[in-house]
């Protein structure tokens, strides 16, 4: 789960990482109130999960109520690369002497945690990495050992952080590592991490991605849900705990496992069709999950045929078949369904489907055969 900046700052605060005081506003009136509470000059910032907010006019410095009103009116509803701004974060403007960068993430190659620190913050770090790689200092951290204050201080020094900011940056690094590990973040990034003329170091932005797999030990994450930017189809799928991504084509895809789902997309595209979505049922999906998947696909009016590609391992094909039969007894499907079942209990699954004698359900033996059949159905529909 990607957090919005204001959520990331709330999360940072739990781990003692200093941020500017501020508040959230969903309307112009609230924005004026929050700006007055923060104290002028204040910064009004669009809350969207996309880079380049500043360049798009999504961040404004305001000196009085009138300017706060104008900024809020301008930014609320602004379209930033397809993300429409619905919420603002307003905080007291910080005096900035220097801008740094700090982050923790997993290095999948080394299978260790990775700290990255740079004295060149405030800009796109991928650009710094490309043009001036030496400006980013990296440190691998074994999870068994963690990172000490002294290591953090050394890392900050090696990155060329100013003398007066060293202790502040080192202290933030230790806390950011706790936020990253104890807080189960896949990414915890501060850009920029600023030094003020008063010699204080604090986070001016917050980019946090939480590891959904760790949700069971973080009841506090509930507060972050329900405000995401998903489209209608994606929101419905999320409610049903399906791994769904909306695409633009006409073949609705349901598969079990991310790899097989991706591969189904590949095959459909290669035999001349186009996928309307990626949908992974996950492992061990029962009849209810299968029924939910058909329901989600059925809400998409782009879909002209549904391709169900199941290779049972932990998922049992008889369960999948029951789900299809159940779903079709309660949901009026708008399009035919091509089904391929293989693996665990496949014979039983095919028998359940055959016995139910469902209209608009076609059973194919192989993955490529099923993809071809689905695309033929789309083509037949187009030629009518």
């Amino acid at each position: 789960m990607d957090l919005f900046e204001y959520q990331g700052k709330q999360y940072f605060a739990r781990y003692g990482i200093p941020t500017s005081p501020g508040g959230v506003a969903d309307s112009v009136d609230e924005a004026i109130k929050q700006a007055k509470a923060a104290g002028f000059p204040a910064v009004v910032k669009a809350q969207v999960q996309v880079g380049g907010r500043g360049k798009a006019g999504g961040i404004r410095l305001v000196n009085n109520e009138q300017e706060a009103k104008e900024a809020a009116e301008f930014i609320l509803g602004l379209d930033i690369k397809g993300h429409v701004v619905k919420r603002l974060w307003i905080e007291h403007a910080s005096d900035i002497k220097k801008e740094y960068y700090a982050s923790f993430t997993l290095d999948r190659n080394a299978k260790l945690h990775l700290a990255m620190v740079s004295a060149k913050g405030g800009v796109d770090i991928e650009e710094v990495a490309a043009t001036d790689p030496e400006a980013i200092k990296r440190l691998h951290i074994n999870p068994i050992d963690g990172i000490s204050y002294d290591q953090s201080l050394e890392l900050a020094k090696s990155a060329g952080i100013d003398q007066e900011a060293l202790e502040g940056v080192a202290s933030v690094l230790v806390k950011l590592y706790e936020c990253y590990t104890l807080g189960d973040a896949d990414l915890a990034e501060i850009n920029p991490l600023i030094l003020t003329p008063q010699g204080k170091v604090h986070a001016l932005d917050a980019k946090v991605t939480l590891d959904d797999a760790a949700a069971f030990r973080h009841p506090e994450w509930d507060a972050f849900r329900g405000v995401s930017e998903l489209d209608g189809r994606e929101r419905l799928a999320k409610e049903k705990h399906l791994n769904y991504i909306g695409l633009e084509g006409s073949v609705g895809i349901i598969a079990n496992g991310a790899g097989l789902a991706m591969s189904t997309l590949d095959v459909v595209n290669q035999v001349g069709g186009s996928a309307a979505n990626f949908l992974d049922l996950g492992g061990g999906a029962g009849a209810d999950v299968m029924a939910a998947a058909l329901e989600v696909i059925n809400t998409d009016d782009r879909v002209e045929v549904v391709l169900v590609n199941i290779f049972g391992g932990i998922t049992r094909c008889d369960e999948v078949a029951k789900g299809i039969v159940d779903a079709l007894s309660s949901v009026e499907m708008r399009s035919p369904i091509v089904i391929r079942l293989d693996g665990t209990n496949a014979d039983e699954g095919r028998r359940i489907l055959a016995d139910a004698d469902l209209r608009g359900v076609i059973i194919e033996k192989t993955m490529i055969g099923a993809a071809k059949r689905a695309v033929e159905i789309v083509d037949e529909g187009a030629s009518k």
Binding site: A213, R217, Q270
Partner: protein, 294 residues
């Protein structure tokens, strides 16, 4: 021959008394795998359809001489179960558990690497290992495999591993061993570990390798193949047509900033002399031709 396991491998199932553990543990046993015991704390002394259950891995190892463990427990308990198995002297651990937090995975991997270098972990979030006719540890349906070699399979994503077996078995091409390494961020066993083992195995004459977008493990495998693998390798990378910036599953399968694309992986593999297919069926067809020419 097979890699990592064979017909003599003695296996215990951690979580045998749970519904998934029972279903898959007993199915592995029915396949012919030497499933010699189960472990569930507090249920020692009972049995699951004749398979004795022990309170701890240590007890199970002492009583049965097992060297491999199949872990089928929920994500909350899986990290501890893996470390318990390693501490009890198990040398080959298969963990199929999905949705283990990345921090726990990273911790477990590094504890194994530092304290138990002789222990191999396969997974987590993997389908397991299957050596047709000899040993099946995991959740793969044994009837989709075909014994007699000559192809070794290594695949990242679970269900795509079954697809790989299916493509070969349907065409009458058997397998020596099929290893599903799992698509999680910190897999215990990598493509390279499997490629090295297949290269050493005299019965394996060719290798089928299925990868997917995201990360750089396939690129690393390509570099390894170029230097170390003399046997023919056929590959397929899932996600050739995946849109960038969309995370396709828990696997961390994502194309971002031009990194981890299927094309980059396919190019790297092709440059290493690997036969690169565009889909699983094509990969199977290429392998059939290679096997015919052996």
């Amino acid at each position: 021959m097979s890699i990592f396991v064979d017909e003599n491998t003695k296996v215990i199932v951690q979580g045998l008394t749970g519904s998934q553990g029972k279903f898959h543990g007993l199915r592995n046993k029915a396949y012919g795998t030497k499933v010699v015991g189960g472990v569930t704390p507090g249920k020692g002394g009972t049995d699951v359809e004749g398979v004795p259950v022990y309170d701890s891995v240590q007890d199970a190892v002492a009583a049965t001489g097992a060297t491999a463990s199949f872990i089928v427990v929920p994500p909350k308990f899986a990290p501890e179960a893996i470390l318990e198995a390693a501490a009890a002297g198990i040398s080959f651990i298969v963990c199929i558990t999905e949705y283990i937090p990345a921090k726990d995975e990273a911790m477990v991997f590094n504890v194994l690497r530092r304290n138990y270098p002789g222990t191999r972990l396969l997974g987590p979030n993997c389908p397991g290992i299957l050596s047709p006719g000899k040993c099946n540890i995991g959740i793969t349906s044994g009837d989709i495999a075909l014994a007699g070699g000559p192809v070794g399979i290594v695949s990242r994503s679970g269900t795509l591993t079954y697809q790989a077996l299916n493509e070969l078995s349907l065409k009458g091409v058997g397998q020596t061993t099929c290893v599903g390494i799992g698509g999680d961020p910190v897999p215990g066993t990598t493509f390279i570990d499997c490629l090295a083992a297949f290269e050493q195995d005299p019965e394996t004459k060719a290798v089928l390798m299925f990868g997917e977008i995201g990360g750089s493990d396939e690129e690393k495998a390509a570099a390894f193949i170029k230097e170390n693998v003399t046997k023919p390798v056929v590959s397929y990378i899932a996600g050739v047509t995946a849109p960038p910036g969309k995370k396709m599953g828990h696997a961390g399968a994502i194309v971002s900033g031009g990194m981890g694309t299927a094309q980059a992986k396919m190019d790297a593999l092709a440059q290493a002399g690997v036969h690169v297919a565009r889909n699983p069926t094509e990969a199977g067809e290429i392998m059939v031709d290679i096997v015919k020419g052996l």
